[in-house]
């Protein structure tokens, strides 16, 4: 079983196709959509978690790339700057998924695999140490 979070970006020609349906039907993948949007130019993105056995998982990713969907791991689109971080820990009381957390030594850390891209941290970080690039 493989599971990872991705940002999928669609061009205007792809946005009306039932791509997620195909991932479920043809590749037997479990899909958990965290966030999605379409802009007025009909371009869109979906942030989702994909999981399935490794053959289907890889097949599904190949399918997405083959039809022209831009696939980026979520960890490449959410960036927490350890240098910018002031280590106050304010974000940790707003992060609903525990992706931003404090160790027992009161050090602030970021585990991007737990991030659900709710963006709560963006507003509460006085150092603006978290950046989201989509």
């Amino acid at each position: 079983m493989v599971a990872n979070k991705f940002v999928l970006r669609f061009s205007s020609t792809l946005v009306e196709q039932p791509i997620l349906y195909n991932l479920v039907k043809d590749y037997d993948l479990i899909i958990n959509v965290l966030k999605a949007d379409i802009n007025p130019h009909k371009e869109g993105y979906v942030v989702l978690e994909l999981s399935g056995d490794s053959e289907n998982y890889n097949g599904g990713l190949e399918y997405l790339k083959g039809i022209g969907v831009d696939v980026t791991p979520l960890s490449g689109t959410i960036f927490w700057s350890k240098d910018r971080c002031l280590q106050c820990g304010a974000c940790t009381s707003f992060c609903p998924s525990g992706a931003l957390f404090m160790t027992s030594e009161r050090e602030v850390c970021f585990d991007d695999s737990r991030c659900i891209v709710c963006e709560s941290c963006l507003d509460v970080c006085m150092a603006r140490a978290v950046e989201v690039s989509f």
Partner: protein, 402 residues
């Protein structure tokens, strides 16, 4: 016989490299282990630290004279206005200053991405900063406008002067209303959704010297990564607030005005910050050494987070309306646990100042002293304490027919 040490004796030990220096966190376990009597004889200095937002901060800058000369009466650094109501090329850039073009809270809540604190951080980082200044032209200062780039190295003087820093304790902020509010204590979720708190508790300078017995005018300190001094008591210094049996104030009380050479400082310890819906400010790193002159001073340094209490205030009504009314008191040990209890409700806590950075500052200062390069100074004047009869005045509105 009771131990009494002098500043001179401790400084002799520092020069010889034999002084025993520990942090305000380490001293707690040392006394537990060795007892008071042995510790007061062995330990010479306790170092404290704090790293958090301190709005009453800023820097005096002198740019040098242009050819021809200008008497600046309006000056901007990266678009942020600096106060120019002094001599021709002197300005003061305040940490909370915003560019005139900033949309502030007109689109609520505002983002406040850049301001005076960020200008100071950029200067300290050695970056080019755009200077634009206007004058009205005089016979001696004919020029009316100048645009240039400056760096910290280019300018003659850069003096950090913070009129109010290092608050001795501070209140805990909550929001009892039914909408999210945006404050200088951070984002406060509705219906007591979180409780924000500041200060480094058991590591905080004035919480380890509650009656200002060693920290006074002239005390040499760690300021923004360089060496600075206590210049005076800070604005709103109020030693008269209620105190616990251990002498520790139960709410914001004493404050310090601090001064130091910006050119010695580091962007690691002076950082521009943005509070959504509130404004910009600057996080300042401060470390203050406390000489262990006698047992009483040591006893105050033993304070732990469990002994320090703070008062909870509602920032949706009572605080903004300057009304009385508090929602109880909690200890820093409870605040640091991540959750406190307010009127039977479990409320997650939001720290605003960094405990591990405070610890790092206390350790850096400890190393400076241990290495022999940082001597202690005896205050030339004590700060006003509980016997000074200070009470804060409020601003009352008076009829003005002028």
């Amino acid at each position: 016989m009771a131990v009494e040490k002098s500043y001179a004796e401790i400084n002799e030990k520092i020069k010889k490299g034999t002084a025993v220096v520990v942090t305000a966190e380490e001293i707690i376990d040392i006394v537990q282990e060795k007892g008071m009597e042995k510790t007061v004889r062995e330990v010479d200095v306790v170092t404290t630290g704090t790293f958090g937002t301190m709005c009453s901060s800023g820097a005096f800058l002198n740019f040098g004279h242009s050819k021809p000369r200008i008497k600046m009466n309006k000056a901007y650094l990266n678009g942020v206005p600096a106060y120019a109501g002094m001599a021709a090329v002197d300005v003061y850039i305040g940490a909370s200053a915003l560019p005139e073009s900033d949309p502030d809270n007109r689109v609520y809540p505002g983002r406040f991405l850049y301001g005076g604190g960020h200008v100071i951080e950029d200067l300290v980082a050695g970056k080019d900063v755009k200077l634009e200044a206007f004058g009205y032209g005089t016979d001696c200062y004919p020029r009316r406008h100048i645009e240039s780039l400056i760096t910290l190295d280019d300018i003659n003087d850069a003096i950090l002067f913070n009129p109010r820093n290092a608050y001795q304790n501070y209140g805990v902020a909550v929001n009892a209303s039914d909408r999210t509010i945006y404050t200088y204590m951070g984002v406060l979720k509705p219906k007591l959704g979180n409780a924000s708190f500041s200060t480094s508790g058991q590591l905080s300078p004035l919480l380890n010297d509650p009656y200002y017995q060693t920290i006074g005018v002239g005390t040499r300190i760690f300021l923004g990564g360089g060496c600075g001094y206590v210049a005076w008591h800070g604005t709103q210094h109020n030693p008269s607030v209620a105190r616990g049996e251990n002498g520790v104030p139960l709410d914001g009380s004493g404050t310090l005005a601090l001064i130091g050479d910006l050119k010695q400082m580091s962007p690691q310890w002076l950082r521009g910050v943005s509070y959504v819906g509130y404004g910009v400010s600057m996080a300042v790193g401060i470390g203050i050494p406390i000489p262990i002159l006698n047992e009483e001073i040591l006893r105050y340094c033993m304070v732990t987070d469990a002994d320090i209490y703070s008062t909870i205030a509602d920032y949706s009504t009572a605080y903004p309306q300057r009304d009385d009314g508090e929602l109880g008191r909690v200890s820093y040990a409870e605040l640091r646990s991540g959750e406190i209890n307010i009127q039977g409700k479990k409320v997650p806590t939001t720290p605003l100042s960094s405990y591990i950075k405070a610890r790092e500052i206390a350790r850096i200062l400890k190393n400076w002293i241990t290495d022999g390069g940082f001597l202690l100074t005896e205050p030339v004047q004590a700060l006003p304490s509980t016997d000074a009869g200070i009470s804060l005045n409020n601003l009352e509105e008076k009829k003005n027919n002028r």
